[in-house]
Structures are given as C-alpha cells and as structure tokens.
C-alpha cells in the first residue's frame, strides 16, 4: 500500500489545490502534503511498516497484460527518499516567492511529484511510461506559465525534445513487450533471448530517451535554456530530481535488460559523457548568469554518473547510486542560494554582485559548505560518490580506456573547483557595490532549508554506509547481468 499512498497523497492534494483560492492556505497545504509523504517514506524505510506493504500489484489492462505494479527496492527507496525529501525543502525554501495563481502553481508542483514517484517505483513498462510522461506535463505548464521572458519557446523545445525521446522509448518497450511474449512486467524483460541486432535496436531506442532526460552531450541543448527560464523552484525539481529519472532509467530499464548491448556500446556512451563533462565545464567557466553556471555544472556532474554506468564496476555503480542522491541535495542547496540572490537583488549576473559575505555571513558559511560538496572535497557526501566512481572507472574490466576517462574526469573536477570558487569569490567576497550594500542576511526558512542540506552533506560524507547498503543488492544484480564483477 505504501507506493500507492505515496503517489496518491501528492496527486489528490495537487488536484484539490486547484479549488483552493487563498494563497497562504494553498502553500501550507502543499507543504503539509509533501511532509506527509516524507513521513510515510521514512516510516516505510525504517521498518515500522510491514515489508509486504512496500509492493503493490493489481491488474490494470487485461487485454494487453499490463499491471499496476509498484515496488520499493533499494534503488527506488533511495530515489523516493530524495524526491520526498526535496519537495518540502523546495516549497519551504521558496516560501517567500510570489506567484500569480499560486494555488495552481503548487497544485502542479505536487502533481509532478506524483509523476516522479511513480517513475521510480513502477515495475511495469507501460506504467513506467505513463508516469514518465505525467511528470513532464505539469512541469511544462509550470515553466511556460511562470517562467522568464523567453519561456514559451524554450519550454516547447524542452517538451518536444523529451517527447521525441519518450516516444523512442515507447517503441523500445513495445518491442520488448513482444519479445517477452506479451508482458510488460520488468521481471519478464530480464533474461530475454535476443539476437545482438535486436538488442542493439532496443538499446538505442531506450538510450535516446534517457540521454535526453539526463541530459547527455549532445542531447543537452534544451537544458541550460530551460533551467535558466524556469522559475527557480521548478529548476530545482528539474535538476535535483528529474535529471535523475534518466540515470535511474539507465540502471533499471537499460543495463539489466539489454546487458550485452550496454557492454558493447558502453565505450561510445562513456566517451560522449566525458566530452560532455569537459565541454560543460569549460562553458560553465565563462558564464555570467548564476543559473546557467549551475545548469552547466549539473551537466558535468551527471556526465560523471553516466561515465560510471557505462564503464561499470561494482564500486562505480554504487558510487553512481549514492551520487544520484548526493547530487540531488547538493544542487538543491546551490539553487536555494541562487533563488535567494535573485529574489533579493532581482539579478542573477555575477558581475553585478559582490561582497555579500559582509552582509550575509550565515548564508556565506552554508553556501561554502554546499560549494565544497559540489567540488567533492573530502568529508562531504560528493567525495564519497565521486571517489567511488573514479575508483570504479579506473578498475572497470568493461573498458580499455579506464585510465583516459579517469584523467579527463579528474580535469573536470579541477575545473569545477575553478568556476565554483570563482563564483563564490566574485559574489560573496570583495567590495560591496550599490546593489549589495543594502543586503540583509537570509530569513529563517532559507536558513533551515540550507541547514538540513548541510547536515545531510556532512552526515553522508562521514557515514555513507546506510545508503550504500541500501543499493548494494541492486548494483550487484546489474553487474551480474553484464557478467562483470
């Protein structure tokens, strides 16, 4: 029952919010609903709820043999925890942002949460596809309605990009359906006997969808524009959670199902990932807009996860798993800071800011910790994930180019230190100017949100074991299917 409740809470609340007229009430209801799903998720993970309640399996479409099948295995738990944790933080940290028709805004936000949770829990391919699209529709409306100046063109580009990807995925899933003898069940997709040509076809169809979503170079062109033009709360959803949909897709629906094609084509995708990382890092260094800077840094970080998955080993996959979570909360922290700056000064240009540390010391301290995590300093959570991934790529028996990949990826880590620290230096240190001289420190809601994230960063940084053991079984299974250790 837990999966169904997890989806229904945001779904029903989100739909109901359209009827709520008062802004403050709508906001509070949305926060409560997201906290409720977080509580449910935590209760489910801590063992208070019977394990049998963590799956749900009911018939849906008799004719084509598709079922309402949700389950919360280790990887799903990790990502659902990320989702349910992020939404309260997103809503609370942007508490003071003003939106027209805010009831609709929060309604759509909750609907997208329902879609995202469904994606992470579905074990039926058609159901997965359903939620994959459902998560997209509310975000389309959110970006186009409340976004920046060029929002309409940018969002339709985003939508068409991802829609093409998902249609390819649909074809791939249909092909698997016929191969599996008329079943959409994930478990029936495993161990299918296919020729290498068929496997390759299905692999490419699915991989395009995931590559666009993550995004992987060269399918990334929608991403910086969309991140920039969306309202920041929506950018948080897009980068903290939605980008993980693609990575999750690779780990659940691609690598275990078409393992030999993944193995054969691994080098191609790993190379693309490395190119993307370098490319995004170099561009990030030249950005003057805070949002675009974080957007490009996100491409670089996601690229490392893609690399670890396509040059696989146990350590690398485990690193990618935990890094999905880490990147989620770290980037959330970055966006919160961007949002504070944008709300306060009405600009995101680095060149127009400066000297904030004198006026907002708390913000600066919290940001520096988040930024250190972003560049994977030891004792922060990202260090654990990225170290494991480097270790994994270097030791992967699946690729001959492990060393080259590792060196290139290490360069991007250095670059990320360059652009992140430079941004901090320009924005927070130095002399105040006319704009920033009247700045005040952050309000309580931002403090609390950032504090939660910082606690998370340090906690996972020193004690990552619970999260790692959560996904160890899934990682070992994926590797086993690829005949790797």
């Amino acid at each position: 029952m837990v999966p169904v409740l997890l989806i229904l809470i945001p779904l029903i609340t989100g739909a109901a919010l359209f009827a709520v007229k008062q802004e403050a009430t709508a906001k509070s209801i949305a926060l409560l609903a997201s906290l409720l799903s977080l509580a449910l998720m935590l209760a489910g993970m801590s063992g208070y709820i019977d394990a049998a309640q963590m799956t749900y399996d009911q018939p849906w479409l008799g004719g084509i043999n598709s079922r309402f099948h949700f389950a919360l295995d280790g990887m799903s738990q990790l990502l659902c925890l990320l989702t349910t944790l992020s939404f309260p933080i997103i809503i609370y940290s942007t508490w003071n942002n003003r939106y027209d028709d805010s009831n609709r805004f929060f309604g759509l936000v909750l609907l997208s949460q329902a879609g995202l949770l469904g994606v992470f829990m579905a074990l039926d391919a058609l159901l997965f596809y359903f939620f994959w699209e459902l998560a997209l529709i509310p975000l389309y409306f959110l970006c186009s309605r409340w976004g920046g100046e060029r929002r309409i063109q940018v969002t339709i580009k985003f939508f068409i990009y991802t829609f093409i990807g998902s249609l390819f995925m649909l074809i791939g899933l249909i092909m698997l359906y016929f191969k599996a003898g008329g079943s959409f069940a994930w478990s029936d997709f495993l161990n299918l006997k296919m020729t290498s040509g068929q496997e390759l076809g299905i692999f490419l169809m699915l991989a395009i969808a995931f590559a666009i979503k993550m995004p992987l170079f060269p399918f990334h062109t929608w991403q910086p524009d969309t991140y920039e033009q969306s309202p920041t709360a929506v950018t948080m959803i897009l980068s903290a959670i939605m980008a993980k949909m693609g990575v999750f897709g690779l780990l659940r629906w691609l690598a275990p199902i078409v393992p030999s094609a993944t193995f054969l084509w691994g080098d191609n995708f790993a190379t693309l990932a490395v190119i993307g990382m370098l490319y995004a890092s170099f561009i990030a260094m030249r950005q003057d807009d805070l949002k675009r800077l974080v957007a490009y840094s996100s491409i670089a970080h996601i690229g490392l996860m893609i690399l670890a998955i396509f040059a696989p080993s146990y350590s690398g996959i485990q690193g990618a798993m935990i890094q999905m979570f880490n990147h989620g909360i770290n980037i959330l922290g970055m966006w919160i800071v961007v949002n504070v700056i944008e709300q306060k000064f009405g600009t995101r240009k680095i060149s127009e800011l400066g000297g904030l540390a004198q006026k907002a010391p708390v913000l600066t301290i919290l940001l520096v910790i988040v930024a250190l995590a972003n560049i994977a300093m030891p004792l922060t959570n990202a260090f654990i994930g990225e170290f494991m991934m480097f270790n994994g790529v270097l030791g992967s028996t699946a690729t001959k180019f492990g060393l080259a990949y590792t060196i290139a990826a290490l360069v991007t880590i250095i670059l990320s230190a360059v652009y992140t620290l430079r941004m901090i230096q320009r924005v927070f240190y130095g002399e105040t100017n006319e704009l920033t001289s009247k700045a005040t420190d952050i309000s309580f809601n931002v403090k609390l949100s950032l504090a939660i994230i910082v606690v998370g960063i340090i906690l996972i940084g020193v004690f990552p074991k619970p999260l790692l053991s959560l996904t160890s079984e899934v990682s070992a299974d994926i590797l086993g299917r690829m005949n790797l250790k």
């Binding site: 004719g63 699209e133 409306f141 939508f159 359906y177």
Partner: protein, 458 residues
C-alpha cells in the same frame, strides 16, 4: 440491420419535420432523440436483438467489430448533436434537412461498417458522400462554402468513377462482388486485373479519407464548409470510411503475398509528413485542424497497414479518441469570434472551462498518456511493431507525432501563456458541462481503455 433501416427512416422523419415543425428547438430535440434511439437500437443489436429480419443474401454481414464501430460512431454523433445542435440550426434556413442528411450519412456508415459485397461498399460510400457535398455548401451566401462544395463534388465524382472502374475490374477477374469469394480465391492465380481493380478501389478510398497524395481537396473543403459540418466530416465520416478500408483490406489483400504493405507504408509516411509539416505553417486554427486531420489519418492508416488484433482495437480506440477530441475542439472553435491562433490568446482568463477542456482534447490529439489519444496511438504503433516489417515507418511516425506537439501546443500556449482577451460567443452552462463531461471521458478512457475494448470480445 437495425441501424441501417432506422437511420433511413429517421432521416425521412426529419425531412418531414422540416415541413410540419416550425420551431428550431423542437427539430433539435427530435434529431437528438432520434440519434439516441439509433444508438440504443444498435446496442440492442450488439446484444443479439434484431428488430428487422431481412435476408441480405450475404451482402451484409454484421460482425461484432462493425456493430461496435456503429455504436461508437452514433455515440460520437449524439455528442456532436448535444454540443453543436444549436450551431447546426444556425447555419441556414433548412435546419431539419441538415439533420436529415446527417441521418442519411449515418445510414451509409452503418452500411460500410458491415458490407460484404463491393456493390454495397459502393452504395455505402455514395450514401455518405452525396449528403456531404450538400452539407459543405449549406452556407449558401458564403462564396468559400460554395467553392468548397463544388470542389468537393467534382473531385468526389472523379474518385467515385475510379472506384467503379476498380470494382468492374475486380468483378471481371473474379466474376463476383462477394468479399468471401475474393478471399477464398485470392491466391488462385495472380490475377493482374484483380490487383489493378483493388488498387483503383484503394485509391478512391484513400481519396475519401484524405490520405496523401490524394489530400488536396481537404484543406479547402474543411476550411470552406460551415465549421459544424467540418467537425462532423473530419471525425465521424472519416472514421466511417476508414472502417470500410479496414474491412476491405482485411478480406482482400491479406495473404496475397503482394507488396501491398509497402504501398500502404509509403502512403502512410507521405500522409504523416504532409499533414504535419503543413499544419505547422497555418495561422488559422481551423485550417490547422484540417491539416491535423490529414496527419491523424496517417496514424489511422496503420490500422490498414498492419491488420492484426492490435490494429483492430487501435482503430476502434482511434475513432473514439479522435472523434471525442476533435468534436470538442471544433465545438469550442465555433464559439470563438476569431479563428486565428491570436484569437485564442488569454482564453484561460475569460473562459477557464473552455480552455481547460480544449487543453485536454489537444493533449489527447497529441497522444500524451492519461488520455485516450495515447492508447489509440499506442495500439497503432504496437500493431505496426507486431507486424514486424517496415520498422522505419514506426520511427517516422513517432517523429511526426513529435512535430504534431508543436502545433497543438501552440493553441495551449495562446490560451494559457499569452495575454489577450479572447472573445467568444456567449456560452451556456450546459455547454460547459458537456465539454467537461467529454474531457472526463477522454481521461477515464485514457486510464481504462478496456471499458470500450471489452465489447470486441464479448
């Protein structure tokens, strides 16, 4: 048989009510009640209850598939009457006759959904076409309507001639009009006359469903005809002809070993391409919908292309989903003062219900999950994947589906994200409720398509 006879009788009744009944409201009510009765009688026949016992000498065969299709077509027409009856009576002075013609078209649809002889196919297609020529020109004082009607009539007559020639060739080759006869002797000698004849029949049918390269009449006719009738033509009538096409192919080409699949694949690809690409450049929503209907016809052609269980289920769902959505959008369009995209600017502020329901209909046309349009497309694509050949067509189709998002979403962008004061004719609360009901149906069937499909098997 129930539906064929009753719809003809109802048509005559409506004709006479034009003489004896002066109130337009009364005529509307008679027509709506008549359509409800027709639907009821057809459902009764699905349950095995026959009003008339006519020996058709095997020229008509009433299968579950055909009857289910009739039910769907009649339900769609009933909905069409409910939301747009007022606009039908406002087209001109001969209100009752318009309804009568629609009943005659229903009769034609009931014939083509169950024909078993090429003669009956021809009769059915003509019964559908001739009233349409009249309906297209029913806005007598409008030059565009006249032009559309004449164009449609001339082109339609040509295609009729081609069909007759084809039937003649088929008869010459097989010495029979019967479909079963053709099916049983299909491999008895590769008879060139037979295939030439079928090809001519195919061309004529493709003309009627506005598939490329026989689509040139469509935009002008759909644009020129009074908008209510465009709505009817683009949905129910088109689906009716598609059923005929599916039936024809089901029984004639399958197993022939000829490369007919390639022909259909090329036509499908051309239709998808031309429909979608041209729709992008339209400035008027009505014309955009005309091209989109060509594009949707491309997807429906998958039902002819693959010929398996999936395609049969798909064409049923497609008919339903496409008709529901398109009738809904046209019903809103009629109420608009300005048919261009700019005319929709800010509709979400002035008429939120209309905007929300139109959005759902558009999402359904684009094939987004949670709407019936998704399952319609899903079944079509799955049928093509199952048939195993010509995978390029499937990939081409999804690229076109992605293109279609662009122009469907332009309407959504206008309604929600652009500022303006969209002007509409006054709309009644009943109209809003009806639209909301249709949108709800689109979503419910989008989650549980089995609600409709189960009737195919029981």
């Amino acid at each position: 048989m129930n539906a064929i006879i009753l719809s003809a009788i109802l048509g005559v009744i409506l004709m006479f009510s034009g003489i004896f009944v002066t109130s337009k409201t009364a005529i509307r009510n008679i027509a709506t009640a008549g359509m409800a009765l027709l639907l009821l009688v057809n459902i009764a026949e699905q349950g095995g209850f026959h009003l008339f016992n006519v020996n058709t000498h095997n020229m008509l065969v009433f299968s579950k598939f055909g009857l289910l299709f009739n039910s769907i077509a009649f339900s769609a027409t009933l909905l069409f009457f409910l939301v747009s009856a007022k606009d039908i009576t406002n087209v001109g002075i001969n209100a009752a006759e318009y309804f009568a013609l629609i009943f005659f078209i229903s009769c034609g649809i009931a014939i083509v959904s169950s024909f078993n002889s090429l003669l009956l196919l021809f009769l059915g297609i003509e019964i559908i076409s001739i009233p349409l020529y009249i309906l297209t020109g029913s806005d007598k004082r409008n030059l565009k309507s006249n032009e559309a009607s004449l164009k449609y009539f001339l082109m339609g007559s040509f295609s009729t001639g081609i069909m007759l020639l084809g039937i003649a060739l088929v008869y010459g080759a097989k010495a029979s009009f019967s479909m079963e006869q053709m099916h049983s002797s299909i491999n008895a000698g590769r008879n060139a006359w037979f295939y030439a004849g079928l090809l001519l029949v195919l061309i004529s049918m493709l003309f009627k469903v506005s598939a490329a390269p026989f689509h040139f009449w469509t935009p002008d006719v759909y644009d020129g005809a009074p908008t209510v009738f465009t709505s009817f033509m683009a949905t129910i009538v088109k689906a009716g002809v598609f059923i005929a096409l599916v039936r024809l192919f089901d029984m004639s080409f399958v197993g022939s070993g000829y490369d007919w699949q390639l022909i259909i694949a090329i036509v499908t690809a051309a239709t998808l391409f031309i429909g979608n690409i041209t729709a992008i450049f339209q400035q008027s929503v009505k014309r955009m919908l005309a091209y989109s209907s060509i594009a949707q016809a491309g997807f429906m052609l998958f039902g002819v292309f693959s010929q398996n269980d999936f395609s049969r289920e798909g064409i049923i769902l497609y008919t339903l989903g496409y008709s529901l959505a398109t009738i809904g959008i046209f019903a809103v369009l009629i109420k608009m003062k300005d048919y261009t995209f700019e005319g929709f600017n800010g509709l979400a502020r002035t008429e939120p219900v209309l905007a929300a329901t139109t959005t759902i209909f558009l999402l359904s046309l684009a094939g987004i999950p949670l709407t019936i349009g998704f399952f319609a497309k899903y079944f079509m694509l799955a049928s093509a994947v199952k048939s195993g050949s010509h995978l390029w067509l499937v990939i081409f189709a999804i690229l076109c589906a992605a293109i279609s998002v662009y122009y469907y979403f332009r309407v959504i962008q206008s309604m929600y994200f652009k500022t303006g004061l969209a002007e509409t004719e006054p709309v009644t609360p009943v109209f809003r409720w009806l639209l909301a009901g249709m949108a709800a149906a689109v979503i419910i069937l989008g989650i549980f398509p089995n609600l409709v499909l189960q009737y195919l098997y029981f």
